[in-house]
């Protein structure tokens, strides 16, 4: 999806301009003049500009407010006139009531002139400008109707008899302006979630050059040294310079645990410095920063047109000429059958009720709200169409490595040679592993930590031997204690007991990574690692299956492993696939089932992501360049996938309801107005009510909702080692349990026992 060219969209709301009969609406003469689709956008753009400058409303909003004040006066005196009219029917009018009525007519004229000046002039001006720019909207219908009602009433007052319709003209002017103002406010609200994201960056930053000085954000350049205090957000992407500190990256990665950033580590703009007085070197500024690019991505998505929007626009573009024709015919027929007054009355009602504002708002407002809501939950859609398509998918395919699995190792099994207590061995291994940042070392620490092995291991002089493992000295005799590869054990002349040798062969045959620990001439323990599923992987599979979505996993793993995975997750697995074959699998799914969604990490599965109807990439928080996916999850949480599908289907529901309402209301309304059943003032009110209804209905999408993902028995049902896994779960330290209440730490068990 590419955004529409500037020539064909409204300069305020970015909606396509109404039908223009003669080529491009932007003629050379008005090249620089802004184009607006309706008066509401013209008004709103002026107001927003003014608010942006001074924070106080000036001319336009004041005009509307004053007009409301004057219209109230007009209505009050008109009502007084109506009562004298009624009295006049029942009894002979007294001289007093006649002169009073005459005075009231002049008062009504007096009070309605400011409204005509304040709101009528901009309407006439807009109608004139759009005519000159050859953009046809219902505004010119409206303008001519209002002008006619004022002119007719003015003549009546001057002649001293005849009906007056000032209140209708005033009411229409106020209502149409107010209605459009409300609609535009709705549009702004729909983008509020996005603006909140954009405002995360601080406005002023501390730059360190010779001394320390505060400068505006847009003055910083790549290579600048900045100081960020605890509790402040980083103003740009960069690298840590002086010391280590904890950083909350939740806004971009969804990771609720603070991340330790050491000197040289990458910092993302918008993330929160938790505890250290940090200095950072700026590596990306302004629009190239991660946060700015995320916001820009959603902005672009908002400008792209979805299918529903195109449908509404097509109808709307035929609508204006059609309605104009209906209005003219109505006027002519009523003139011929009744009076000019009735013709004017009915034609005006047609023009008012047919304002395609509700139709124009129906799709985009819902989509904008949904896109903003999704962005606030760290789900970025690259286009509104991606959202619409996601609601329609019937099949979903998951890449395995890095998508369903975390990509880091976890200890699945531990064996020992029975010469020492297993707890002692694990505690010593953890003490050694703690000095290394290797994935397997972290897994050992986590494994030991999960069993609350806190006993002191009394190991000193620990050092890392790169490529081999970790070595230290064990108290009290200072004998070497070694953790690492098999080769490291051989080098250290440690013997492997037959029981461990057998398990080791088994693991190596299945290609599983392992680590050994030993001291005093013997290898004492064996750790076998496994990939670990992401939290809630099984529950998400179930949730998707419950939605009647055809779920399958695509993997390059061996067939026997694939069968094991299928048993674990309870879904189909297509194994032994090369990247090109994954594309074929997607295409096959589309031909057999229908629209298909592919979920991957966006790194090695981009062809498949691009081939699917909707591609979802996980973990884009640190890398938004994975543009083969039409949906980017900033975090790694798989539960966002059913959540996004639910959001998409809710959006579709709201759009359909909006469109149904707008089509139905407009058709019935025009029919009623054409036969003369609708009072123009009532038509104006209905127009506002309809637009407001669509706006409120669309803004409902900004409400938070939860999807039901049952967690209960998934661990036990999925894993043959269910009881062990749940024991591990309960023994997990609070810091890890706190990640999410529902988090599960499933270890895939394929090693034969």
């Amino acid at each position: 999806m590419t955004p529409l060219p500037r020539e064909s969209v409204c300069d305020y709301c970015k909606l396509p301009l109404p039908y223009s009969p003669r080529g491009s609406p932007r003629s050379a003469r008005d090249e620089q003049a802004p184009l607006y689709c309706c008066l509401g956008c013209r008004v709103a753009s002026v107001i927003v500009e003014e608010k942006g400058e001074h924070g106080v409303p000036r001319t336009m909003l004041l005009r509307l407010g004053l007009s409301i004040f004057f219209t109230m006066n007009v209505m009050a005196f008109t009502m007084a006139l109506w009562t004298t009219d009624v009295y006049g029917q029942s009894a002979a009018p007294s001289t007093l009531s006649l002169s009073l009525a005459g005075m009231f007519r002049y008062l009504v004229l007096l009070f309605s002139l400011p409204v005509l000046f304040l709101l009528g002039l901009p309407l006439f001006e807009h109608a004139w400008i759009s005519l000159r720019q050859r953009v046809f909207s219902t505004d010119w219908l409206l303008a001519s109707g209002v002008a006619a009602s004022f002119a007719y009433s003015f003549l009546s007052v001057m002649r001293g008899h005849g009906p007056i319709y000032f209140e209708v003209g005033c009411f229409i002017l106020v209502m149409t302006t107010l209605g459009r103002w409300l609609e535009v406010t709705g549009k702004l609200k729909a983008g509020a979630a996005l603006d909140a994201l954009a405002r995360l960056l601080p406005e002023r930053v501390r730059r360190i050059s010779e001394g320390e000085d505060e400068v505006p954000l847009d003055e910083i350049r790549i290579g600048d040294l900045l100081r960020v205090l605890p509790g402040e957000r980083f103003p740009a992407d960069g690298r840590v310079e002086n010391q280590a500190g904890l950083v909350d990256e939740q806004v971009l990665t969804g990771e609720s645990r603070p991340v330790l950033k050491e000197p040289g580590d990458r910092i993302l703009g918008g993330t929160l410095n938790l505890d250290a007085d940090l200095r950072m070197i700026v590596t990306e500024t302004g629009e190239k920063g991660t946060l700015a690019r995320a916001v820009e991505l959603v902005r672009l998505a908002r400008q792209s047109q979805g299918r529903y929007q195109r449908l509404a626009d097509q109808v709307a573009s035929r609508f204006v000429p059609l309605v104009s024709a209906v209005a003219v015919v109505t006027f002519a027929v009523h003139c011929a059958l009744g009076s000019v007054e009735r013709g004017l009355w009915a034609a005006l009602a047609v023009g008012l009720i047919a304002c395609p504002c509700a139709l124009g708002l129906a799709a985009p407002l819902a989509i904008w709200t949904a896109l903003g809501h999704a962005a606030a939950h760290r789900v970025l859609f690259r286009s509104g169409e991606a959202l619409e398509r996601l609601a329609e998918i019937v099949a979903i395919r998951f890449d395995k490595t890095g998508t369903l699995t975390t990509g880091s190792a976890a200890v699945s099994h531990f064996f020992n040679d029975h010469t020492e207590m297993p707890e002692t061995i694990q505690a010593r291994a953890a003490a050694l592993a703690a000095v290394s940042s290797h994935a397997m070392s972290r897994a050992i620490v986590e494994f030991a930590g999960s069993r609350r092995l806190t006993q002191a291991a009394s190991i000193s002089d620990v050092r890392v031997v790169p490529g081999f493992g970790v070595i230290g000295l064990l108290a009290p005799d200072k004998i070497p204690i070694v953790l690492g590869s098999r080769r490291f054990m051989r080098d250290q002349k440690l013997l492997v007991a037959p029981v461990l040798e057998w398990e080791m062969h088994g693991a190596e045959a299945r290609g599983l990574p392992l680590a050994l620990i030993g001291w005093g001439g013997r290898v004492r323990g064996l750790f076998i690692f496994e990939e670990s599923w992401r939290p809630a992987a099984v529950a998400v599979m179930r949730s998707l299956t419950r939605r009647n979505i055809d779920v399958a996993v695509l993997t390059g793993d061996h067939g026997s492993r694939g069968r094991a995975i299928a048993e674990q997750l309870g879904v189909k697995v297509e194994a032994e696939l090369l990247p090109a074959q994954k594309v074929a699998a997607i295409e096959q799914a589309r031909s057999t089932a229908g629209p298909v969604c592919m979920v991957g990490d966006g790194i090695n599965d981009s062809p498949a992501l691009a081939a699917a109807d909707v591609g979802i990439a996980l973990g884009c928080g640190t890398d938004l360049s994975r543009d083969s996916a039409s949906v980017c999850l900033l975090e790694d949480d798989l539960r966002r996938i059913p959540w996004s599908i639910e959001l998409a289907s809710r959006t579709r529901r709201v759009i359909r309801w909006n469109l149904l309402w707008a089509f139905g209301y407009n058709s019935v309304g025009v029919a009623c107005a054409a036969v003369g059943l609708l009072n123009p003032a009532l038509a104006a009110f209905l127009m506002v009510a309809s637009g407001t209804l669509v706006t409120i209905n669309s803004l409902r999408l900004g409400r938070t909702f939860e999807i039901e993902i049952d967690q209960g028995d998934s661990t036990a049902a999925a894993s043959p080692l269910g009881s062990m896994a749940s024991k591990e779960l309960s023994g997990r330290p609070a810091a890890i349990d706190g990640l999410a209440q529902s988090e599960q730490f499933l270890t895939l068990e394929t090693a034969a026992r």
């Binding site: 608010k51 106080v56 909003l61 407010g65 109230m72 209505m75 009502m79 406010t185 407001t692």
Partner: protein
């Protein structure tokens, strides 16, 4: 109209309730001022705007009552019905405020309802330094949904007369003025406990107005002209 002083009193004391609900607006109006005198002037203008809207609504309600009475006097005594409706509404308001009738919690609209949309419209006027903006802020806040206003509007419509409707609502608005101006000008001059007591008295006033209106309604029903006996064309009046 016996209840006119009561209406004023209900408004006056009921503004303890108004301060709780709309005091924030008055305070915002004060924010844009330069000193106390300016602030009080702004509060006066703001209150004038509010009273204007109330009066306008009173006129509309009076006209509506008049229109209904005119349309329906053949089959039902509309004025009596309107009096009864207004009485019940006001009585309910009073009892609600007294805490005798438990208040039902309405589900709140999240993520932007119509009120929020209106708020973005009124908001900019409140803190603007210009007096015309303050007036408009008053005019617009007069339209905000409020149970007390609705109750008195029903009362205004029961008069079935535009002038009486205007008078009712104008008096109600004038009654709300003193406390709102005080709240806007001086912050909280009245202690929380005093405000609670005021609210109790006000609630009693409102309930009393409701009772009077009900009584009037019943009176209207009783004194309503008895329908003329349809006489048979053929047999004529029995003599």
């Amino acid at each position: 109209m016996i209840e006119l002083p009561l209406i004023f009193l209900g408004g006056l004391l009921g503004s303890a309730h108004c301060v709780g609900m709309c005091g924030g607006f008055a305070v915002s109006i004060g924010l844009g001022s330069r000193g106390l005198a300016d602030n009080i002037a702004r509060q006066l203008v703001y209150t004038t705007g509010r009273i204007f809207t109330y009066s306008f609504l009173g006129v509309v309600a009076g006209y509506a009552g008049f229109w209904i009475a005119g349309k329906s006097n053949l089959w039902v005594n509309a004025q009596a019905a309107l009096c009864l409706i207004a009485g019940v509404l006001l009585l309910a308001q009073g009892l609600l405020a007294l805490g005798i009738v438990p208040r039902r919690r309405w589900p709140r609209v999240q993520g932007g309802g119509s009120v929020c949309l209106v708020g973005t419209f009124v908001g900019p006027f409140l803190t603007s330094p210009r007096v015309s903006n303050v007036l408009i802020a008053g005019v617009l806040t007069g339209f905000l949904p409020c149970g007390l206003v609705y109750g008195y509007l029903a009362l205004a419509s029961s008069s079935a007369n535009m002038g009486a409707g205007l008078l009712t609502m104008c008096l109600f608005g004038a009654g709300t003025a003193p406390l709102m101006i005080l709240a806007g000008a001086g912050g909280s001059l009245i202690s929380h406990a005093a405000r609670r007591n005021l609210m109790r008295i006000s609630a009693i006033c409102v309930a009393l107005t409701g009772l009077i209106s009900c009584a009037r309604g019943i009176l209207f029903v009783q004194i309503a002209p008895a329908p003329e006996v349809v006489r048979c064309l053929f047999c004529g009046p029995s003599s």
